[in-house]
Every structure is written in structure tokens, then in C-alpha cells.
Symmetry: C2
Subunit: 597 residues, 2 copies
């Protein structure tokens, strides 16, 4: 059976020593998050994840959810009790608006907790995770009355929420959606249509579920310009806040999926259900987009989480399993064989996962802090700069961390040999669960297009120029520091490679847009490597400073330095291959007629 | 529901136009395999796979196998009837020894049929697949009496066979195995022990199952030098060939696996079962090794097969699913959206799979023919050269084609977006089934070590020098051919990169063997890319010649040329990254103490 230990020390090192969270004390909520409080919160959260949620992960996978004849959906054994513990701990409202019962702490802390939750039990974590989307939607776009009705219950965790976008014939291309909204004359609408792939769509964890639904008001324009956002509660809410009659919405079926069995992925049937417009008519897609960065960051976190828990278990196995002898000479002659962690190829897998995970965690926190600044900051210029960088990094985090996170779960499974293929060992579940993160919330190919087609050119390239400038200045500032040479050299090369690729798009994609599409996934991964390399440089610097000051844990810091060197040597060389592919353009990719495949 | 169309035309083009199978007519069995006969056989085999086996693939996954209280194992609905059709067609004996009822045709044809079978239904294909291992073991190492007893029944498909190596505490390191063999005094042995992960271990397709079992004779030396090979029938065979009493061997449990549910993966309990020594005492491991190349080639074929069937379905979906508009301009204005095959990033996925699969198929056939020459050839020098190349290429095929084949199933699933994650669409089954091929028959890390540690240095590097010479001469012979420039240039660069990596090992791995281990997986993939690039150059040449002669299908040949160009542009650049990683050596990989992970 797999186990999980939340990487609290690593997070604290990143927040305090690498990112320097105290620099953000001018942002509302940050001053309250003192180092001691953060530590206490994370340790408490870690305990919940390790002791309550992780032991339910296999059970959730084996049992899955059940839809009963009357349409009710029940979750796996133990999920309800665990959810109650989760809400009793006040975790839902950690960074939510204090006006509605939240604690107002930085979203960055929620991002950390999201990693722990997803690593412990991804299917479970999706229930409160989706509710965060509904909370964000109503906070940003709901009327005061809607906020008063829904937010306190959602933030307390008494109710859950969902996001309803996809329909059978449209996922990526929401302009095709058909769900209808007909005015009832009393300010409400009758919503009719079928939504699919609705995570947490129905369940027995709470009494009410608040669905956020994209639909087309009768007579609205075709395409994306005629889509509105509605709030549709599973159970109607009376004026006094008590629950009224059931609404005309039901889970029509549960999907049979590759993984995340413990989460109820529903086909939702809306049959004239009563809903209320959120925000403006026909501006529903724009409203969804304002929440997209957080949601996509959340999926990137899932990629890291599965990679981390799979890695931890692979390390345990590699220390315990004995097969063969070290090629450099027998290590434990008194035993019949050496533990497989002595073998370089096993090390290769462990180091690759470790070097990726630690930088990915840094990049997520670096970006999450920019999200906090963008939403709460008091300085307009700082807010804009933070929003630029968060928007730029979001598709990179979602695409790269889920792609590589998935590959890492496969690698961790490989460390187990034949046992990795057997369900009881739990490694194959990580692979199956992680797989969805590459698909939902915008498949990774869409992330790459978002990066190349939208985020790069936005505001005349302001965001990407700012990122290049920041990394470039970092390189200049440290290039004479001999101890930093193993990090600065490869980072400089990586940055130059990324700038060349960017230039190539500028010169070749205007006249022929297919050239941008053809190189988009390579560009996203190239961008991710440079961003991760930048994180490693900063981690290394912080580790060196901690050792120099005598305040740091020397072994911890030496491990960071060795792991960072591995990243630079073994993972960064991929940047050149990405550039080479990008520069070949679209010709051979688009040469064949569709019938020639 | 997924479908499958066996790539008969592609195989015929490879055999006739690229490899030139008629050149091998001096090898016994080849002259009988006239182009017309080969075509007829493959078309008949394709029909069986497409119409009988493929429709059972999902059923097999859903139902899995069942172990009953009495230890009997039953296979999914329809498997028995399909197996009977398979044996009635004479497929088991296609390339088996005519003295025992086989047809004596080239093994290369069996390799082709293996691809079709595995693509249609991998779990099913493993039943006769494992029997081929038993046939090979008895043909090569069995006594005349053993051959007479078992081979005719196995070759007719009336009985099946298994290979029993792994035990709970040992897989890779067979020196640790504990299963005991105690002489009964009558020439037989009593075999006692537990074997795990035994594919096809028990089933209801046949009346008898012939287990080939590695065990340690009482008093034998420890480690790999004390292991012997035994034949242990499930049901004892009387002197007249009729079935006698049940043997003391039973399936103790079925494993719960990530995939290949239709195949019974058994824990096999031997409780004093009667077995007979095959070959010499204590030479069991060596006997297994002589069959290893074929078995590993077979697993490489599974990797291609899953990649191919997943690719075919992704193409179908990409042609039918409509989302968004081509960035180069609307393609089908009369429709609400264009088919997703217009999008470059979807093309990238399809072209990557296609470019890999077609070269992988060529490499498998190129190697299988060398296997036939090695086993049947009449010229000693030719046999040795063929055996060298087959031995060299076996770990490359097993490791690279299963690694990339698996990635391709993931890519094909990605083309489906959210639907790829849903069981009914069948794409996630390809991912789960393909995953095992990276693990069993020697995990891919072991393949890489076999290549670097055993195959490279064998006979003073004779095999690798011969391969480099062959590719080098090919480059020289075609480097002035302008039409071949897009292929020869990247192949030349790839070969030079591979030679540099080889040289680096020669200079750096003697003194520090960890340097070889640290670079082994990169080296294996680098080797694979060069070998596949070499295949593409030959495919391109054959396509150009077919077009020039006016005999070829022009559209087919143009497709080959465009696909080959894609391979050279988009896949070959990876070679440089592999070399860079190899040249960093083991230092950062091995730096951390085990407790620092």
C-alpha cells in the first residue's frame, strides 16, 4: 500500500528562503500569514492529508461512486466522514473573503494545501476543488444577493459547487454549445440541456450543490458571443436561506473512467431547471475566463501532486527492494543482493522526478503569489505586472507540469518492475489518476495554443518581455558568482534558446499561422524548462546562502544543490531539441491530405 | 468502439520493396514464401484479427479472467471460440518445424502476424504467444522424447505453454530464485515453489498446459549457476500420448492488473509437481537466454501493435470530431466547425505516431529476417553476422518500441480529449495494455544495460562495428543523391552522434562503470533513433524508386516521403539531447546518499 508524507519542509524553505514571502506583506492577508502561522497551518493540513485522506485513496479507486435508481449519487466508503473532518477544520475558507466567513489568508496557502490534498487523494480533493471554482465565480461575478445566498454556505463547506461547460458535441469549442435558457418572467430562467464530464456533479457529501452552468439565452447570438453564465442550485434556496424544493437537474449517468474513480463524473441533465443569470447576458464565457487561470493552476498542481506521491513511493521501494549488485562494487555483502537504489538507471528515474517536482513546486508558488498580488495588491503597476506573469505562466504550468507529472508517475511505476503493474501496490492508480490532468480544463494542446496565440502577443508582448527581462537580469546579476556557475550557464543558454524560438514565431507565424500551431507544444515545454531552470537557480542560491549563514540544514541544502545540478545537466539539454523542431515549421506536419493518414 | 485494420499493404511494401525478402531465398523456408503466398497469408490473418479478435478486446478488458474455487481459470466470453478458430487456421505452426507439424515458413511472417494479433487483442494474443516460447524452448533444448511428446500438440495449438521465471522476491535477479527440484529417482523431479506474474498460467482454452519452469536442483550452486530448466505439464501425459493424472501445480490466485485483463496472470503454486529436466543441469538460465531475443522481439512487437491500433483510431476520431476552425482559414464553411485534423497540434500527434510506427515496423522486420538467417541460414559467416545484428537490435527494439509505443497510446488518447478518458471509447485500454510491455520480459532499464553492458562489448564490439559500417556505407552510397538529401543528412548526423556516445562509453565507463549505467537508457534511445532513421532512409529510397519506375502507388509513396521527412525533422533532433546527457556521466546522478531522497 502506498503512503504519503506532505513536503512541509520543502514548502517552508521555498516560501521563506527562496521566494521570500515576507516581501509581500503589503498585500492584504499576507501580514497575517506569519511564518509560525503558516508552519502550523501546513502541519495541521499535512496531518489531515496523510492520516485521513491518503488511506481512502485505494478504497475510492476500487469502489468508485454509485448512481442509484432515483438518480442519487453516493461516494466511496469513508468519503463523507473525511469530508466532514475537512470542513470542520475550516479548510474550504482558508483564503476566501472574510465578509462571507472566509479566513482571508493568501491563496498561495490554498495552493499548497491543494497539492497535499491531491497527492493524498486526488478524487476526493476534486469535491472541494470544484467548489472553489463556484466560490470564485460568484465572488467575482455574482450579485450581492447571490453572494449572500450562496457564499457563506459554500465557504463553510456545507454546500459544494460544480462547473458545467462541456456538452457531448463540444468541449474545446464552446461556441457550439446548445444548452438553452428561457426567461421565466420572474428574473429566473428555465435551463434545459445536457452537460457531460461534470466532476463532482452529484454526491452525498452535502445537502446542496451549486451548479455554475453555461447556456444560451433564447435569441442570443450564435457562437461564443451568445453564452451566459447561470447559477443553478440542486435544491432551491428559500428566502430565509433554508432549503426548498428540488430543482429539475439530475445526474443522468456516471462516466466509466480510466481513473479518479472516487470522484463522481456526471452526465447532468437540466430539464427546465431554475437558474439565475450571473453577471451580464452573453458575457458568460468572459466570466469563465476570469477564473480560468486559477482553475488551470489547480490542475497543474494535480500534476505535481501525483508526481510527488508516486516519487515518494518509488523511493521507498527502491530502498527496500533488493535485486542484483551495484556495478561499482557490492554495497551490502551481508545481504543476498543490494537495494536497487544503488543502480544508476534507478537513480536516473528517482533524480528526474525529484529534480522536476521541487522546481515545479517552486514555480507554482512563484505564480500563485503573483495571483494573490494580481487580485489583492494595492499598487496598480504591481498588480498588472503580477497579472501579466500569472497569465503567461498559467498555460505553462498546466501543460508542462501535467505532461511531465504524468510521465513521472509512469517512471515511478517503472521503478517497481512487475509489481508496478499490480493494483494492490497502488502505483498504477497514480498513473491513471494523473492522466486526466493532461486533458481537462483545456487539453494540453490548447494550453500551448493559449500560450503562443494569446499570452505571447497580448499587450504587445508585455508579459513575455517582462519575464525575459527578469530572468536575463538574474543571469547578469549572478554570472560572476563561481558557486552559481553550474546553474547560471545552462539557464543563460536556455533563455537564449527560448528567445530564439520566440523570435522565430515573430518572424514566421504572422504570414503562416500554422507555423505557430506546429511549434506550440514544443514552445510550451521549452518555456517550462527555462522557467523551471530559473527556479532551480534561485533554489540553489538560497541553499548556498543558508549554508553560508550557518542557519540552514546543511544536508538539506547540499541535497538541493546536487538535485539542481542534475536538472541542469540532464533535463535542460532538451531545450535545444525543442528549438530545432520549432524551426522546422509546419511544412512536413501539414503536408498530408487527411485521407493519407 | 475502436476498430482495427491490419496494415497489410505497408507490410508487403516493406517486405518486397524495402527489405527485398526475395534476397533471402537461400534461407530454408523463404523460397516457399512467394510474394503471392505471403499476401494471401497476411490477408487471411488480417481478417481473423479484424473480424474475430478485435471485437473481443473490450469484452476481455471488462470481464477479465476468473479463478474458480477449485483453482480452474476461465477466460472471457468468446475467447475459447476465437482460439479454436485461430488453431483451425493453422496459425500456431506457421513457422514451426515441419517435422512436428509446423509449416516451416519464415519466423518473419510470424512476427508480422504477432503484430496483427496484438493490435487486435493483446490479452488474447498472449496465450498463443507464450506457447511460442515453450515451443522454442523444447525445440532448442528438449530431448527427442520431450519433443515427440509435446511439440506436435503445442504446434497444433491443442496445448498451450508458459514460462515460469519470476518469484515474489526475484524478477530481474534470477540468481535469488528458490523454487526447488528434488530428484524422484525415476528421472523426474518434484518441483516445489511459487512463481508469480505467469502470463496465461492457467486457462480454459486447451486441455493441457506445458509449463517451462526455472528451479534449483537440491544441492546445486547458489546464484545463477545453479538454475535448471524443467518441463512441467499441467496434466501428465501417458506413454501413448493420452492425458493422465493432474500434476501438482495450480493457479493460486489471479493478479489484479492495470491492463491485459483478458490474459490470466497467475500466481502458480508448484507443490511437488512432477517435472523433467530440459537440457543440462544448472544450465537453465543459459537455455532461457537463447530464447530471450525472440521473446523480447515479441514484446517490442506488442509496443508497435498498441501504438498502431491507437493511432488508427485517433485518425478516425480526428477526421470526424469537429471543434474550432483551422487557423490558416476556415476549411469547411458549410459545417459548424472544421474536423480537428486541420489543427497543427493534432497533426503533430498523428504524424509523430505514424512516423514512428512505420519505421518501427520496418526495424522489426529487418531484425526478424536476421533472426531467420541466424537460425536457419546455411552460410556460417552470414549466420554469425545476422545473429550479431539481431542480438544488438533486440534490446533496442524491446526498450525503444515499447517506451515510445506506450507514449503513442497516450498521445492517441489525447487526440480524443475528454472522451479519451472514458472506458467506452476504448482508448484508455490501449494505454493500460501497452504499459506492461515496458515492464515484462526485462524492464526497459534492463534492456538498456543489456545493450551497453553486454551487446556493445561482445566479441570486441563486432556487432556494433558492423552496424555502424552498414549505416555509414549507406550514407556514403546515397549522399550525392539530391532526392535523398532530406534523409541522408539527418541520418549522417545521427550516426555521428551515436558514434560519439559509443566512444564516450569506451573512454569513460571502464574506469567508472556507473558512467555506463547512467547513460544506458539515453544510449538505447539514441541507438533506436538512428536505427529508425536508417529505416526511414531505406523506405524513402524504395518509395522514390517505386515512383520513378511507375510501378508504385504514387499517393502511397508520396505519403511515405512526407512522413519520413517529418521523422527526420521532428524526431531525430532528440539525438543531440541524448548525447548531451550521456556525456555528463554519473556524478550528479549518484551524488545523493540513499537517505537524501
Amino acid at each position: 500500500m502506498p503512503s504519503y508524507k506532505a513536503p512541509v519542509d520543502d514548502v517552508l524553505f521555498l516560501l521563506n528562503d527562496v521566494i521570500g514571502i515576507e516581501k509581500y506583506n503589503n498585500v492584504p492577508g499576507f501580514a497575517d500569514a506569519t511564518p509560525d502561522l503558516v508552519k502550523a497551518i501546513l502541519e495541521e493540513g499535512a496531518k489531515l492529508c496523510e492520516e485521513v485522506l491518503q488511506p481512502l485513496n485505494r478504497i475510492g479507486d476500487e469502489q468508485g461512486c454509485t448512481r442509484h435508481e432515483d438518480g442519487r449519487v453516493t461516494t466511496p466508503e469513508g468519503f463523507k466522514a473525511a469530508y466532514d473532518k475537512y470542513t470542520e477544520g475550516g479548510w474550504v475558507g482558508l483564503s476566501a473573503d472574510p465578509d462571507y466567513g472566509g479566513q482571508g489568508l493568501p491563496h498561495t496557502l490554498s495552493a499548497v494545501m491543494s497539492e497535499f490534498l491531491s497527492a493524498a487523494n486526488m478524487a476526493f480533493a476534486m469535491y472541494p476543488g470544484l467548489a472553489q471554482g463556484a466560490i470564485a465565480a460568484l465572488t467575482l461575478h455574482g450579485s450581492d444577493a447571490q453572494k449572500a445566498t450562496y457564499l457563506p454556505k459554500l465557504i463553510a463547506g456545507e454546500w459544494l459547487g460544480t462547473m458545467n461547460l462541456t456538452e457531448p458535441h463540444c468541449g474545446t469549442d464552446l461556441g457550439l454549445l446548445k444548452t438553452k435558457a428561457v426567461p421565466n418572467g420572474d428574473g429566473s430562467y428555465a435551463i434545459t440541456g445536457t452537460k457531460i464530464f461534470i466532476s463532482s456533479g452529484d454526491n452525498d457529501l452535502v445537502d446542496n450543490i451549486i451548479h455554475l452552468v453555461l447556456a444560451r439565452i433564447e435569441g442570443a447570438p450564435e457562437g461564443t458571443k451568445g453564452i451566459s453564465l447561470f447559477v443553478v442550485p440542486k435544491v432551491r434556496v428559500n428566502a430565509d436561506g433554508s432549503l426548498g424544493a428540488a430543482n429539475a437537474v439530475e445526474c443522468g449517468a456516471l462516466e466509466h473512467k480510466m481513473g479518479i474513480h472516487g470522484n463522481a463524473t456526471c452526465v447532468m441533465n437540466y430539464d427546465g431547471a431554475t437558474g439565475w443569470l450571473v453577471g451580464e447576458e452573453n458575457k458568460g464565457l468572459r466570466a469563465m475566463f476570469t477564473m480560468m487561470n486559477e482553475a488551470r493552476l489547480g490542475v497543474g498542481i494535480q500534476g505535481l501532486a501525483q508526481s510527488e506521491v508516486a516519487y515518494q513511493n518509488a523511493v521507498d521501494y527502491a530502498r527496500e527492494r533488493r535485486q542484483g549488485r551495484a556495478i561499482s562494487g557490492v554495497k551490502e555483502p551481508e545481504q543476498s543482493a543490494d537495494p536497487i537504489i544503488v543502480h544508476p538507471d534507478v537513480r536516473r528515474m528517482l533524480m528526474s522526478m525529484k529534480a522536476f517536482n521541487e522546481a515545479a513546486r517552486a514555480l507554482i508558488l512563484w505564480t500563485a503569489i503573483r495571483g494573490d498580488v494580481a487580485h489583492r495588491g494595492t499598487d496598480t503597476a504591481e498588480r498588472q505586472a503580477a497579472e501579466d506573469l500569472m497569465g503567461l505562466m498559467t498555460p505553462v504550468i498546466k501543460g508542462v507540469i501535467t505532461d511531465t507529472g504524468f510521465q513521472n508517475t509512469v517512471m515511478a511505476q517503472q521503478v517497481y518492475g512487475g509489481h508496478g503493474y499490480i493494483a494492490e501496490w497502488g502505483m498504477e492508480q497514480f498513473v491513471r489518476d494523473a492522466r486526466i490532468s493532461m486533458i481537462y480544463e483545456g487539453a494540453n494542446g490548447i494550453q500551448a495554443l493559449d500560450l503562443v496565440g494569446r499570452k505571447l502577443p497580448a499587450n504587445g508582448g508585455r508579459a513575455v518581455m517582462a519575464f525575459f527581462q527578469e530572468v536575463g537580469e538574474y543571469v547578469v546579476a549572478h554570472q560572476d558568482d563561481e558557486a552559481m556557475a553550474p546553474f547560471i550557464g545552462p539557464l543563460k543558454t536556455g533563455l537564449e534558446t527560448l528567445q530564439q524560438a520566440t523570435m522565430w514565431f515573430m518572424q514566421n507565424a504572422m504570414a503562416k499561422p500554422d507555423n505557430a500551431g506546429a511549434g506550440s507544444t514544443d514552445y510550451m515545454h521549452l518555456f517550462g524548462l527555462v522557467a523551471l531552470g530559473y527556479m532551480w537557480a534561485q533554489i540553489a542560491k538560497a541553499a548556498q546562502e543558508a549554508v553560508a549563514s550557518g542557519n540552514g540544514n546543511a544536508a538539506f541544502c547540499e541535497t538541493k544543490l546536487a538535485t539542481g545540478r542534475y536538472f541542469m545537466e540532464r533535463i535542460m539539454p532538451e531545450t535545444a531539441a525543442h528549438l530545432a523542431r520549432i524551426q522546422f515549421g509546419a511544412d512536413s506536419m501539414m503536408a498530408l491530405p487527411a485521407e493519407a493518414f
